[in-house]
């Protein structure tokens, strides 16, 4: 490498280090606050304690919100995977009509600003007389997650040769058996990756949920409400836990995707 090249390389590395530091700074700050005491806005490094983590278990509001979020995520992930699969099968068959239109509808909530997806759904639910609840929140999440699960499942479905399915039928398998023994094993890892990705996004969704919740808050909405009226230090503990869990989930997803890319 010549000198200017090496200089460029160092510069790029420097920018990368700075950017990564900026991206992780928020998480670091919260993690610090969760185990050290902050006196007069100064972190007291001698005061390590996990007390706030213990208090967390007794905060009924947060626990209820966590339960709501998990329920919504479970339902939204399951629904968006099943629908993603159904739509991918439909769009993958060139004989079917309206495939491009269907694809456009599926991608729209992902392309448009979330505020538009959120407010159009709340208007729709008002017009058809459905009250806001965790059910409407779940529908909002599915509308947004579907683009992602569909995309990942479709990518995987495209690389399956149609002759595999034909062979299965020729050998006398019916539709269900073909799905069970040919399609499903082929799609399994894509389903897991899409499910994990959808799960982390659902747990974090704020901007669409904001329009669709009523009394039962999801975790991000509860946190937002708590932060607006000032906060209790348990938030730091909770947030560190969530960051840990999402980091772990992200690690799982990317390992899967990286492994597949490596083959």
């Amino acid at each position: 490498m010549s000198r200017p090249e090496r200089l460029t390389e160092w510069l790029l590395g420097g920018v990368t280090a700075l950017v990564l530091f900026a991206l992780y700074a928020p998480a670091l700050v919260v993690a610090l606050f969760s185990v050290f005491e902050v006196r007069q806005q100064k972190v007291d490094f001698s005061s390590f304690s996990l007390a706030w983590y213990g208090r967390l278990i007794h905060n009924a509001d947060i626990l209820a919100a966590l339960r709501n979020s998990l329920a919504v995520a479970a339902a939204a992930v399951a629904l968006s995977l099943v629908l993603g699969l159904v739509i991918a099968f439909y769009a993958n068959d060139p004989r079917n009509r309206g495939r491009r239109f269907l694809e456009l509808l599926v991608y729209l909530p992902f392309l448009l600003p979330p505020i538009i997806t959120g407010l159009s759904l709340v208007i729709f639910f008002r017009e058809v007389g459905v009250d806001r609840s965790l059910v409407t929140v779940t529908i909002g999440h599915v509308a947004f997650l579907l683009a992602l699960t569909y995309r990942l499942l479709m990518t995987r479905l495209r690389v399956l040769s149609p002759s595999m399915v034909e062979a299965s039928y020729d050998l006398g398998a019916n539709g269900w058996q073909t799905f069970r023994h040919v399609l499903f094993p082929h799609m399994r890892s894509a389903l897991v990756a899409a499910g994990l990705l959808a799960c982390t996004l659902s747990l974090d969704e704020t901007l669409i949920t904001f329009f669709l919740f009523s009394n039962d808050m999801t975790l991000p909405i509860r946190l937002w409400a708590m932060m607006r009226v000032g906060f209790t230090p348990e938030i730091n503990a909770l947030v560190t836990l969530i960051l840990g869990v999402t980091f772990f989930l992200a690690l799982l997803v990317s390992r899967r995707i990286a492994l597949r890319g490596g083959n």
Partner: protein, 281 residues
């Protein structure tokens, strides 16, 4: 394969039901609402352009809109100016480092949005880490209030929150460049800078466009970031729309304001697609 008609019908119904019911119908309802009006806190179905005229009559709306357009453009510029070098640096690594760095730059996409805002608020505050660092470095004499509860705070926070959305698409399009092309360019006597300008940069354009679009659209519609770190002066268009659905209770006006946002976003997507197509030739 012979398909029974009933089977096909069931599959079509299953595939179309959700997108038609929960994507198309809500968007149509939202468009319709923008022509309705409100009287004595009642929504009245109508076909009036009053909500759209209100946008131009009251000069606060165009002002906030242009301000938000500027803000989103700045966030996009920061995202690409910083995101591109990062993606490029990662792409140039080989082996383990490459995927480790990629992972590290993608994970922030999944870190809780609301929590990032909360953390950024404490970083940017009077006694926050930013002020401490600037004072320690001698760049400031005393901690400054300039970083929180204003437009600058919204800009910095959005840049941090949305930057990962720019890194990933750029990296993915860099990865699609065949290494042979760069080799060939070097063999033909191009210096590294020339190869970069004439081979790498044009071929990475699709990812750069997608990354820029993502950042721009997300920044354009965000209403939580400005509320958390923008204070009373950090008003953005998303916040204006959202307030019509909250205390303002003027859903038709909110819808019309959102339709204007939608049109601009679609125009920007169309423009980006046109640039992408032209550059491919």
């Amino acid at each position: 394969m012979i398909r029974p008609r009933a089977h096909l019908l069931a599959h079509s119904a299953a595939a179309f039901a959700f997108p038609l019911l929960f994507v198309l119908a809500p968007l149509l309802a939202f468009l319709a609402y923008s022509f309705w009006r409100v009287e004595n806190n009642q929504l009245i179905p109508d076909f009036t352009l009053a909500n759209y005229l209100e946008f131009f009559r009251n000069d606060i709306y165009p002002r906030v809109f242009v301000g938000t357009l500027k803000l989103a453009t700045q966030v996009m510029a920061i995202g690409l100016l910083l995101g591109f070098p990062v993606a490029y640096f990662i792409w140039r690594r080989r082996g383990r480092w490459r995927y480790a760095l990629l992972l590290v730059s993608v994970v922030p996409l999944f870190m809780s949005y609301i929590i990032k805002l909360y953390a950024m608020r404490s970083i940017l505050g009077l006694n926050g880490f930013l002020n401490k660092a600037l004072v320690a470095l001698g760049l400031l004499d005393a901690p400054s209030l300039a970083f929180l509860y204003n437009q600058r705070a919204v800009l910095i926070t959005m840049a941090v929150v949305y930057l990962p959305f720019a890194i990933l698409p750029v990296f993915l399009s860099l990865e699609r460049i065949p290494l042979g092309l760069i080799q060939a360019s070097a063999d033909l006597g191009a210096r590294p800078g020339q190869s970069f300008r004439h081979v790498v940069l044009p071929l990475s354009l699709p990812g750069t466009i997608v990354g820029g679009l993502f950042v721009f659209i997300l920044a354009m519609g965000d209403f939580v970031t400005p509320q958390m770190v923008g204070g009373t002066v950090g008003f953005t268009y998303g916040r204006v729309i959202q307030s019509q659905f909250g205390m303002g209770f003027n859903w038709p006006l909110g819808s019309a304001l959102a339709v204007i946002l939608l049109i601009v976003v679609l125009a920007v997507i169309g423009l980006a697609a046109a640039i992408g197509r032209r550059s491919r030739v």
